[in-house]
C-alpha cells in the first residue's frame, strides 16, 4: 500500500514486542504471521512495528496488506456495495483470495511475485513485484487475514469500530457517514466471527494474551 498514514503509538510498540517474543519462540523458515482486526484497530501499525523489530533480530519480514486485494476498484467500491446491498456483499468475498494465495505461495517458494498495490493518493491499483528469495517472514494484515489457510501465528485485535471511531476520523482514511457505519457494522460481524481462530489476542488496552488459557489440571 502506498501513501498510507500510520499512527504508531507506544501501545503498538509494546504489544509488538510481546508478539515478537512469541514469534521468536516458534520461529521457522518462511513463517507467516496474520493479524486480523476491525477497521482502525491498528493492524497495519502492529504489522509495521513487528516487521521492524524482527529486523533487529536478523529476520527479514515483509508486511503484506490484504486491502490491496479488493476485487472492486477503490473508486467504484462504494457504488458497487450500495448497488448489491451492504448486507450481501461486505465480507471476505470482496477480496481476490486467488491472487492473494498465489502471492503467498510465491513467498513460500522464495520466488518473484507480482501483486496489486493500492496507492491511496491516486486511488489507483499499481502492480508491485517483489523478490521473495531474501524474505524470511510475511506479516499479513487485513480484516480477515487469520482466515488464510496454513498460517503459523494468528493475532486478533479485539478493539471494535465503536472504540476506534475517533482514530478513524483522525486518520481521515474514509468519510464518516451512514453508509460507512453500515459497512463497519457488517465488517464487525464478519471479523468477530473469526475470533475463535486466533492464537493471540490483543485486548482493548492493547495487552497481549494467549487465546486459549492453559487448561487447569
Amino acid at each position: 500500500m502506498l501513501g498510507d498514514v500510520l499512527l504508531i503509538a507506544e501501545k503498538h510498540q509494546k504489544a509488538g514486542e510481546v508478539i515478537v517474543e512469541k514469534i521468536l519462540s516458534i520461529r521457522k523458515p518462511k513463517m507467516i504471521v496474520a493479524i486480523s482486526g476491525e477497521s482502525g484497530s491498528g493492524k497495519s501499525e502492529l504489522a509495521h512495528v513487528i516487521a521492524k523489530s524482527l529486523r533487529k533480530h536478523g529476520i527479514m519480514a515483509k508486511p503484506l496488506h490484504i486491502d490491496n486485494y479488493y476485487r472492486i476498484h477503490p473508486l467504484e467500491r462504494t457504488e458497487w456495495r450500495k448497488q448489491h446491498g451492504i448486507q450481501n456483499v461486505v465480507g471476505p468475498n470482496e477480496y481476490d483470495w486467488d491472487t492473494f494465495l498465489r502471492n503467498i505461495s510465491e513467498f513460500r517458494a522464495g520466488a518473484f511475485s507480482t501483486g496489486p498495490c493500492v496507492d491511496l493518493v491516486t486511488e489507483q491499483i499499481d502492480q508491485l513485484t517483489t523478490d521473495y528469495s531474501g524474505i524470511d517472514m510475511l506479516i499479513i494484515d487485513g480484516l480477515y487475514a487469520i482466515k488464510t489457510p496454513d498460517i503459523d501465528l494468528r493475532v486478533f485485535i479485539e478493539l471494535t469500530y465503536h472504540e476506534t471511531k475517533k482514530a478513524q476520523v483522525v486518520r481521515g482514511k474514509e468519510p464518516q457517514n451512514e453508509y460507512r457505519m453500515q459497512v463497519l457494522e457488517k465488517e464487525h460481524q464478519e471479523v468477530q466471527a473469526l475470533k475463535p481462530l486466533a492464537d493471540l489476542l490483543v485486548g482493548m488496552d492493547y495487552e497481549v494474551r494467549p487465546a486459549s488459557p492453559q487448561p487447569k489440571l
Binding site: M1, L2, G3, V5, L6, I8, H48, A51, K52, R55, M60, A61, K62, P63, C117, D119, V121, T122, Q124, D126, Q127, L128, T129, T130, D131, G134, I135
Partner: protein, 212 residues
C-alpha cells in the same frame, strides 16, 4: 517507497496550501512539481500534504520518491560509499536515465515501471503504474530540483544540523560518524542546487515564503 513513516503537522498543511495556490496559477496538463531540500526536512511529508490538498480540488497526483532511484541498493550503499569515498556521495548516485524515463512516461500518459524501496526490508521492489489520468507528478528528493522537466521547483530550507533531531526521530537512518560526513556532504550538494528555485520554505521559521 513502501512503509515510509510520515507525520503531517500544521506547517506542512500551511505550506501545502501555499503550493496548491501557486499550482492553480501555473497548472497545465501533465504538470511536474519538484520538491528538493535537505535530509529529514519534510519533503515526503510535504508531498503527501500537497497531494491530499489538490485531490480535494479534483487534481490527481502521483508521488515519486527520488530515493527509489539510487543506483546502489540500500543494503550495499554504506559499503559502496565507504569504498568510493565521501566524494562519491551526490546526485550521481542516482539513476537519472531512469528518473527521466519515468517523467517522460508520465508526460506521455504511458504505463511505467520503476523501482520501489521497501523501507522495512530495504529490498528494492518494482512498481508498475499507469500515468493515464494523473494530472500532476510530484517528485521529491534531495536533488529533485535538478529535474529539467519540472514546471515548479520547491526547496525546503533547513540546514542539516537543524534536522538532526528529525532524523533521529524518523529512525530512517542510524547516526554514525560516517553518516555525519555523508550528511555534511549532502548538505553541500543540496545547497549548490539553490538556484532556479520558484518557492522556498523554511520550516524552522514557521512559514517564511520568498522568491529568489
Amino acid at each position: 517507497m513502501l512503509n515510509d513513516k510520515i507525520t503531517v503537522t500544521k506547517k506542512h498543511l500551511e505550506a501545502a496550501e501555499v503550493v496548491s495556490e501557486k499550482l492553480q496559477e501555473l497548472i497545465q496538463p501533465k504538470f511536474i512539481l519538484a520538491i528538493g531540500g535537505e535530509v529529514g526536512s519534510g519533503k515526503s511529508t510535504l508531498s503527501y500534504a500537497i497531494a491530499q490538498k489538490i485531490k480535494k480540488q479534483g487534481i490527481s497526483s502521483k508521488i515519486i520518491d527520488l530515493d527509489d532511484f539510487y543506483k546502489i541498493p540500500p543494503k550495499e550503499r554504506k559499503a559502496w560509499r565507504r569504498h568510493h569515498g565521501i566524494e562519491s556521495v551526490g546526485p550521481d548516485e542516482y539513476d537519472w536515465d531512469k528518473i527521466n524515463r519515468v517523467a517522460d512516461d508520465f508526460t506521455h500518459d504511458r504505463e511505467s515501471t520503476m523501482p520501489c524501496v521497501d523501507l522495512i526490508t530495504d529490498e528494492v521492489d518494482s512498481l508498475k503504474t499507469c500515468f493515464e489520468g494523473i494530472d500532476v507528478l510530484i517528485i521529491n528528493g534531495l536533488y529533485a530540483t535538478k529535474l529539467q522537466q519540472a514546471h515548479l521547483k520547491i526547496f525546503i530550507e533547513l540546514t542539516y544540523d537543524e534536522t538532526k533531531e528529525a532524523q533521529i526521530f524518523s529512525e530512517k537512518e542510524e547516526m554514525t560518524a560516517f553518516r555525519k560526513q555523508i550528511l555534511e556532504r549532502e548538505h553541500q550538494m543540496v545547497q549548490s542546487l539553490k538556484h532556479n528555485i520558484d518557492l522556498f520554505f523554511d520550516f524552522d521559521a514557521t512559514l517564511d515564503k520568498y522568491h529568489l
